[in-house]
Every structure is written in structure tokens, then in C-alpha cells.
């Protein structure tokens, strides 16, 4: 008899609208989605399709109009603003477009700051930063400011920052947007390896079909409607 494992991420009937009446815009229309622990899934969609809105609601950055998001034992959509801030620091790792590092902190400090948000003891934080930077091939760039790093190096620092607090979920927003193809592939490959090796769950928002091969499953969103697809529609043509 197989034991059924509940998915770590549960999105049910998630809806987000802006405006009212005839000017109302539906950004996400009743999205349902489950992702298992250790899965790395892609969220595909053209600009304005609602993928950013969806990932923002899952990450506790944006309150939905209706519907629920659950991560492990946490009911994200039931949390207060203060709880959401804590949730983002402890349970979610974010990798944004163009890396988005703090410009006046070195690579090492960008990671250490995240650890300070959750009160990680200094010694443990330093050890983890050293380990992550080593794994990400950035040990010799630890003391460099973001402006002294290449686009790929900055994205790798962002990956390290996302993993720093050992989150349950890693949300990745267009990680290859500012990178050339080769660098983009290398970053997503590294991302997949790091997420998989740690048994983390990851969602990557992308419009780059070439990155789909690094993920386990693909979701597509079009005009706010989310569907789980075997093969991205763009590849059908």
C-alpha cells in the first residue's frame, strides 16, 4: 500500500482582480496548483498573463482577492502583514530578475543580511555563507560589491541569498532576463541543482522555453487562467 504524501504547496481557487465594475481586470482567475516537496516547476506565460501576480501571491507579497495558498503547515493567505514579512524571511527564498542585490553590500554581506533577518547566530551564518559561496563558485568573489560582479555572478549570489535561510519554497522570477543564452542556461542549471540537492521546492517564472527542460513540470498561464501542461503550447507550433 502506497502512502499518499500531501503536496507541500497548495494553491486553491486563487483569484486576483484589480478595479471594480466594468473597469475590473482579472489578473489571476481561480488558479489551482499543487507542487510536491522537491519538485522544480516552470510557470510559463507571456507578458501580462498574470504569472508575476500569481507568484507574488504564493510568496506572500500580494494578498489575493479570494482563494487560498498553503505551504506545508502554513496557511499563507490567513496571515497578517507582520506574519507575512516573517514568512518571507524564513520560508521563502526569492530570486528576482536582474539579481536585485543590495548595491552597497558585498556578495557575502548580501547573504549575511538575510541570515540576520531571522536571527541566525553569527558563527552559523558565516559558516553557511562560506559553504554556499563555495558551492556557487563565488568563494573568491565574496568581498566584491554587486557592481564588480558579472550578470551571471550576481544571479548566483541571488541564488545563494534565496537559499541562505533554508526556505521551504524558492520562487524564481525570470532569472535569465538579463543574461545571454549560455549564461542563462548555466544559471538555471545551477539553480535546479541547488534546489534538487537540498530537496527544496521551486517555482520558476519564465517566458524562455529553453529553460523548461530543467524543470519537472510545466504550468502555463494565459489571461490569468492557469493550466498544467505536458508540453508548453508554444512548442506545439
Amino acid at each position: 500500500m502506497t502512502e499518499s504524501v500531501e503536496p507541500i504547496l497548495r494553491v486553491q481557487g486563487l483569484r486576483k482582480t484589480y478595479g471594480e465594475g466594468h473597469t475590473q481586470v482579472v489578473a489571476v482567475d481561480g488558479a489551482d496548483m499543487t507542487v510536491d516537496e522537491g519538485e522544480f516547476v516552470a510557470l510559463l506565460g507571456p507578458s501580462g498573463s498574470g504569472k508575476t501576480t500569481l507568484i507574488s501571491m504564493i510568496g506572500g507579497l500580494l494578498a489575493p482577492t479570494s482563494g487560498t495558498v498553503g505551504l506545508g503547515a502554513t496557511e499563507v493567505t490567513a496571515m497578517s502583514r507582520k506574519e507575512l514579512t516573517r514568512f518571507r524571511a524564513t520560508q521563502v527564498g526569492f530570486v528576482f530578475q536582474s539579481a536585485n542585490l543590495v548595491p552597497f553590500l558585498t556578495a557575502r554581506e548580501n547573504l549575511l543580511y538575510v541570515a540576520s533577518l531571522v536571527g541566525t547566530p553569527k558563527k552559523d551564518a558565516h559558516a553557511r555563507v562560506d559553504q554556499l559561496l563555495e558551492e556557487l563558485g563565488l568563494a573568491d568573489r565574496a568581498g566584491n560589491l554587486p557592481e564588480q560582479l558579472s550578470g551571471g555572478e550576481r544571479q548566483r549570489v541571488a541564488i545563494g541569498r534565496a537559499l541562505m535561510n533554508d526556505p521551504d519554497l524558492v520562487l524564481v522570477d525570470e532569472p535569465t532576463a538579463a543574461l545571454d543564452t549560455a549564461m542563462g542556461r548555466s544559471v538555471v542549471e545551477l539553480l535546479q541543482r541547488e534546489i534538487k540537492s537540498r530537496g527544496k521546492t521551486g517555482i520558476m517564472v519564465t517566458h524562455d522555453l529553453r529553460m523548461v527542460e530543467y524543470t519537472d513540470r510545466v504550468f502555463e498561464i494565459l489571461d490569468g487562467v492557469l493550466t498544467h501542461v505536458e508540453r508548453p503550447s508554444a512548442l506545439e507550433h
Partner: protein, 365 residues
């Protein structure tokens, strides 16, 4: 990992310039406060530091001790008023004497040793007790020096040095009343009698000085009595001078605080992208506000240290003719006020931080 200190370390030029600007503003506030305080002090010190609960002037003196003329016998009439514990005659006039090698105007005060009206603020030596002795508040004078008053008004040996006891912003000499009377007589031969300018009085234990002053005015004809504080506040022109300096210091302070507030608002706006990112990854508004507060504190403390040095140098280099000293209370009050109001001005930045929508970090490039 301290965000605020890390930024200061990485942006030394920016924070250095900001600290310099704040230092100049604090310096201006300190210098104006000190000069204003010194000027008012040198105009009022003699009365402010008089050892008495109150002063009695002639009724037609218009609150001006120099214009007040009283018969010495008025002291006995004041002493008879209920509530008055003791009295002492006080005389004063302006004359000239060589001080620090130059003939200069000086204010001579006569007081009755052991009675109300003696000066306080002795920094060295003792008060004069006999004719020929003098205590001085003025530059370039040392214990043992001899001061020759002009017109043969007498040679005085310095036995005490005073601080904060000047009058009319002039070097001020305190002598026993007999010596004062002799000096006035020498300067004005033929005077039928030497008037006194005021009667200083003390009140009985537990008595209200203002009530006793009112009783004296009522009981002694052609006099006007005030408490010491009232007498000081009524010195002609003092309130205008105090108000003018108050406005100067206040305006400088307000402008300084507004500038500091805007500086930090600009710094915050420049960092909005980073702050949005930090809010998105779990930094609270409070922790980011604390970053701004820490930076304001570091800038104000560093700027105050620089301003203190600048003020000390300026006061050494300035020749104002009045005793000017930087008082610890002025420094502490100024620095604490600048710090507190800067933090308040920093609320502009905190308000901006509180309005950050962390969701905008997603999808932005």
C-alpha cells in the same frame, strides 16, 4: 550584519559631505547660542549673580539701576518692612581704568560686605573686605595686580577674580561701599552726598520674595522693588536682545533640522529599489526605519564632535571683548535637540519606507 553602518562604510564621501553640512549647522547653533548667552550674561551678570532675593530702585528709575538714585537712608526704611531679613546698599557707576595695559571703561560696583548685594561667582581669591581691595570680572587681570582708577578715584589691589558677574558688557569691579563712595566723591567733587543706586534685600525664611518686593514698593515711598529675577528681566533692552538671539538660534536650528530631514529623505529615495527588495525578502519596515535612525545618529554624533571642535577654535580666535565660554549644558542641549529633531525629521524617510509595496520587487528589472 548592520545595513546602516555598511552603507556608511561604502559611501564615505556622501556621508562625509552630509556630516560636514550637519557639523556646520550645529557649529552655527552652538556659536550663536554661546555668543548670545555670553552677551546677555555680560549685560546682566552683575544683577543675576547678586547675592540677594530682591532689589529696590528709585520709583522713577524706569527699572534701570544706573538711572536709580536713592538716599542711603532708604536702606533703613526697606529693612523695616515685614518679611525683609536683611538689606545692603548697592552703588554703581561707569568709570575708566587701565586693564590689560589699556585704559578702558569699567563698571564699578559698591556693596556692603556681609550684607545682601555682594557678588557671587568667585573663581579665584576672595571678596574685598577693606578699602583698597577689589574683586574683578575682566580679562587680563590677576590676583595681586593694582588697578588705578582714573581721576584719582583710588588704587585698588585685586584680591579676587569673578566669572559671570559683568554689567553693561564691561569689565566689572567690586569694592566695599566705602571705597565706592570715595571713588564717586573723587569723580564728582562737591556732591552733597553720595547716593546709592539700589537696596539689595533678603527675605525671611519661607517668605515669598515677590510678595515682599510688593510690600516694599507699597511701604517705602518713591521706590520700586523687584525680585532679583524680575530685576534682571527688566534691564532695558535685555528682552529684545534675548529674543533676537533666540530667533537667530531658532531659525538656524529649524533650517538645520529641515535640511537634515531632506538629506535623509533623498538618501532614502535613492535607496528605494534596495529597500523594496529587502522588504520583499522579509525585512520589516521597523528594521529599515532603524537603519535610517542609526545613520542619523552616527551622522549627528560625528557632526557634533566636529562642530564642538570648530566652536572651541572659533571662540579662542574671536575677540568679542566679553567673556565667552562654551558651557557643557549648551553643548548637551544643542546636540540632544539636534539628534532628537533629526530623528523626527527622519520620520519623512520612515513614512516613505512604510509606503513601500514589497510586491513591486517581483517583475521589476
Amino acid at each position: 550584519m548592520n545595513l546602516g553602518l555598511a552603507e556608511i562604510r561604502r559611501a564615505r564621501l556622501r556621508f562625509g559631505l552630509l556630516t560636514t553640512a550637519v557639523a556646520l549647522l550645529v557649529f552655527l547653533v552652538l556659536l550663536l547660542s554661546t555668543l548670545g548667552g555670553a552677551l546677555v550674561g555680560s549685560l546682566t551678570g552683575a544683577l543675576d549673580r547678586l547675592d540677594a532675593a530682591g532689589l529696590v530702585y528709585a520709583g522713577n528709575a524706569r527699572d534701570n539701576i544706573a538711572a536709580s538714585r536713592l538716599d542711603p537712608s532708604v536702606a533703613d526704611a526697606v529693612a523695616a518692612v515685614p518679611g525683609v531679613a536683611a538689606v545692603g546698599a548697592v552703588g554703581t557707576f561707569t568709570t575708566r581704568a587701565p586693564l590689560d595695559g589699556t585704559a578702558t571703561d569699567v563698571q564699578l560696583f559698591g556693596f556692603t560686605p556681609g550684607a545682601p548685594g555682594a557678588p557671587t561667582g568667585l573663581s579665584e581669591g576672595r571678596l574685598p573686605t577693606a578699602a583698597g581691595e577689589v574683586a574683578v570680572d575682566g580679562r587680563g587681570v590677576a590676583i595681586g595686580d593694582t588697578i588705578d582708577l582714573e581721576n584719582g578715584e583710588g588704587a585698588l589691589t585685586v584680591v579676587g577674580l569673578l566669572r559671570g558677574s559683568q554689567f553693561n558688557a564691561l569689565p566689572t569691579l567690586y569694592v566695599p561701599l566705602d571705597a565706592y563712595t570715595s571713588a564717586v566723591t573723587a569723580a564728582n567733587p562737591g556732591l552733597p552726598f553720595v547716593p546709592i543706586n539700589a537696596v539689595a534685600f533678603d527675605v525671611d525664611p519661607g517668605a515669598d520674595a515677590a510678595a515682599v518686593a510688593a510690600a516694599v514698593t507699597e511701604a517705602v515711598p518713591a521706590t520700586q522693588a523687584y525680585t532679583r529675577a524680575d530685576a534682571v528681566a527688566r534691564i532695558p533692552g535685555i528682552s529684545s536682545i534675548s529674543q533676537s538671539f533666540g530667533i537667530l538660534v531658532g531659525l538656524t536650528f529649524v533650517i538645520g533640522i529641515v535640511v537634515i530631514g531632506f538629506f535623509f529623505l533623498i538618501l532614502t529615495v535613492q535607496k528605494l529599489r534596495a529597500f523594496t527588495l529587502l522588504r520583499a525578502i522579509g525585512a520589516s519596515t521597523g528594521s529599515l526605519a532603524a537603519t535610517v535612525a542609526l545613520q542619523i545618529s552616527v551622522v549627528v554624533v560625528a557632526a557634533s564632535a566636529v562642530a564642538l571642535g570648530l566652536t572651541a577654535l572659533a571662540l579662542q580666535g574671536l575677540s568679542t571683548g566679553i567673556p565667552v565660554a562654551l558651557s557643557p549644558s549648551t553643548v548637551i542641549t544643542t546636540v540632544v535637540a539636534v539628534w532628537l529633531f533629526s530623528l523626527l525629521a527622519g520620520m519623512l524617510s520612515v513614512r516613505r519606507i512604510a509606503r513601500i509595496d514589497p510586491a513591486t520587487a517581483v517583475g521589476s528589472r
